[in-house]
Point group: C2
Chain length 395, copies 2
DNA sequence: CGAGATAGTTTGACGCCTGAACTTATCGAC
DNA sequence: GTCGATAAGTTCAGGCGTCAAACTATCTCG
């Protein structure tokens, strides 16, 4: 819990700077007058704040705007493409991905490297990560832009207060201080390094760059090797008290179901995970499954329906508890969306108490497996946009 | 989602007023200098703010404090017992409770009236509520205090944005505008009326007046006729996006379990609700059950263990999802606590992923069935303490 | 080319916090 | 008993950031 701090004029300026920058971010090309109208601040204040933001290299003045009708043209403002960039890394179970995005979230460079990280020592993996980071840093240097922050997505439980990776079952890591490991291996600028769970970052990427209108509250379910959920409420990530939230994979959905390494029976992961679907369908891999689904194969569609029903049982509990109006299917589930959506909607409609007057939306993720890296990179720049004064004071 | 507003000097004052009043509320008897040290504001600012708060009747100056050592004595500040009071009403299924509390949350008057409200028309019940409110208002008038706000606890789903009671299954009500119904029936001051779910109010009461130290994050489970959960995170209520959150009663805990009116099978409410426990134990009512538990009766203790295990299944999902470090047993469960706690702890320990390094606390509620009314009344005064400027400007 | 409309800047005022000096109050030592 | 040390509370000038209003700049239309 962040303890409340006294407010002063600087607090006001900080708040309003973020307000102005947020307005420019959500409506690129807006004029100072437009920002004033949108935020409720006066033109004078907006001018003063915008000048500061331009001075810090966060906002770009693109000259007079095109607009019909009488009156002087405003100057078109937008987030500066030359401003600080965000660098994202995802330490996946079987790949390593990096990504460089500008302030608007646009991807400038991206690379995915297949590596089997299962049970590799922390030091080895971090050396790889450092090399991958160096590559992106050179990319940034070549484009004459600075890196304002780094986001690291990991498949495990990250403690919010310390940034420690507490458990990563599929990597067999525990209690790893990733920022510390990296700082020793790569010539980083004094940028902030923030570590987070991949499912959470993926949910944020979907929120920011998924292209869904007015989707500020949802649960993003990513079916990868495990099943993780990212909860977004009020356009903000909700990751629980200590950051360990969103663990959906071990929701019990069948008291007679198969045993799970976690000790319980009938965990969602065992019944609706990627491996479970493939096995039930008798398909070798995801591509084979998709082929057979496309031809209307009975076993394949049956497996999808079965998984969707189990997913619906778990998600209906989530919706009843959190009252989120929509579910986003990501990761593997995004590719299976056409076959999952209907049975999932049916299950949710039957089990969610508020569904009778307010049905739960089921939406397909637009970002694929890259969602997590994108989210990690975007988080770094979002942190700057959300609090530009902190960034400006820091340098 | 509340859209961000521009900040000005008034925002600063508002924030700091709340900060100062909060410091006085959490440390009664503190001096101006103490508040300054605790909040980080200067003595000058604190003096100015405190004077305003005293002027508004929110803070009481109790003369010089007792303290050893040299130096001038500070003046002892505390929330004014003569300040605005909070009035709470709970429309229960089989009772109607009212409660009047002062700014500190201390109960000044309380009354519970047994009434069977099942399936009574809205108008009839609201007439009773109005009469009960009038009684408390006369009480307040007799004590020369004003009522600063009214909280209404109801057993149903309340929409946060509108304050409408959407569904109350056990009353058979839907879409009731309780503030509107009341304003026509009782001579209210222009006080704010806030309607909320009883489980949520109960959780807040536990947070504020439960006497638990450093318990700012928990799920409060109240086992009454239904099973409701109030989620408190960061010392604030989390009631979901639209306010319908916390519905725990229909979590599926046994895929072979009995059918539930909701349409599903094996809902928690059917397996761990008060009626289910009594039936399994073969007890006529709760007192009979407690008697038999006290004697170590096998059927009774077995029924308790059985319910606790089912409750554990549902709560472990909640904890995995929200990462709350503690569970508070309230309502009927509070009375059964000695027999529920151990099996519940065992179930949570086995099913919660983070339990291995951070066990989930299981705590007994200290407030009984009065928690909800208390919470409703306290909410009204908390709203004033949390934002005193809004209260001061309003009058 | 001038009236009207819209964008952006300048200027003075106001509110609120801050820091330092000042007043008030109490204790302990001589 | 008086003096000095210590702490609480008040007063006052100063700074900062927003606001309102006046002013300048630019564009369209008649």
């Amino acid at each position: 819990m962040t303890q409340p701090r006294p407010a002063g004029q600087h607090t006001v300026r900080r708040h309003n700077s973020a307000l102005v920058l947020g307005a420019i971010a959500t409506a690129p090309g807006i004029s100072r007058a437009g920002v004033a109208a949108r935020t409720g601040l006066t033109k004078a204040t907006v001018s003063s704040l915008v000048d500061r933001l331009i001075g810090a290299g966060l906002v770009h003045d693109a000259g007079p705007e095109q607009r019909p009708g009488p009156g002087r043209r405003g100057t078109s403002l937008s987030l500066s493409p030359a401003g600080p960039h965000g660098l994202g890394v995802e330490i996946g179970v079987d790949y390593l991905a990096t990504c460089l995005v500008d302030l608007t979230g646009a991807v400038r460079h991206e690379r995915i490297r297949p590596v089997d990280n299962r049970f590799r020592p922390v030091a080895d993996v971090c050396t790889d990560v450092a090399a991958a980071l160096d590559e992106e840093l050179r990319e940034a240097a070549g484009a004459q832009v600075t890196v304002g922050g780094i986001g690291v997505a990991v498949p495990g439980l990250v403690e919010a207060s310390t940034g420690l990776l507490r458990r990563a079952p599929n990597l067999d890591w525990h209690d790893v201080d990733i920022p510390a490991e990296l700082r020793g291996r790569v010539s980083l600028p004094d940028a902030a390094i923030l570590v987070g769970n991949e499912a959470n970052f993926a949910a944020l990427a979907e929120l920011w760059t998924g292209g869904h209108d007015d989707l500020h509250d949802f649960v993003h379910v990513s079916g990868e090797i495990g099943i993780g959920a990212g909860i977004v409420i009020g356009a903000e990530l909700f990751s629980g008290v200590r950051g360990f939230g969103g663990e959906l994979g071990h929701f019990p959905v069948d008291s007679d179901g198969p045993h799970c390494p976690c000790g319980a029976r009938g965990c969602l992961e065992r019944l609706a995970g990627q491996d479970a679907i493939l096995e039930r369908a008798g398909a070798a891999d995801l591509d084979a499954l998709l082929d057979r689904l496309a031809t209307g194969d009975g076993a394949a569609t049956g497996a999808a329906r079965h998984a969707a029903a189990r997913l619906g049982i778990a998600l209906s509990s989530v919706v009843n508890l959190l009252d989120v109006p929509a579910v986003v299917l990501g990761g593997t589930y995004a590719r299976l969306y056409p076959w999952l959506a209907e049975p999932l909607r049916a299950e949710l409609g039957a089990r969610v108490l508020s569904a009778s007057w307010s049905p739960v939306g089921v939406v397909c993720s637009t970002l694929g497996t890259e969602a997590a890296v994108r989210g990690a990179a975007a988080s770094a720049v979002r942190a700057i946009v959300a609090d530009p004064d902190a960034f400006m004071d820091g340098r």
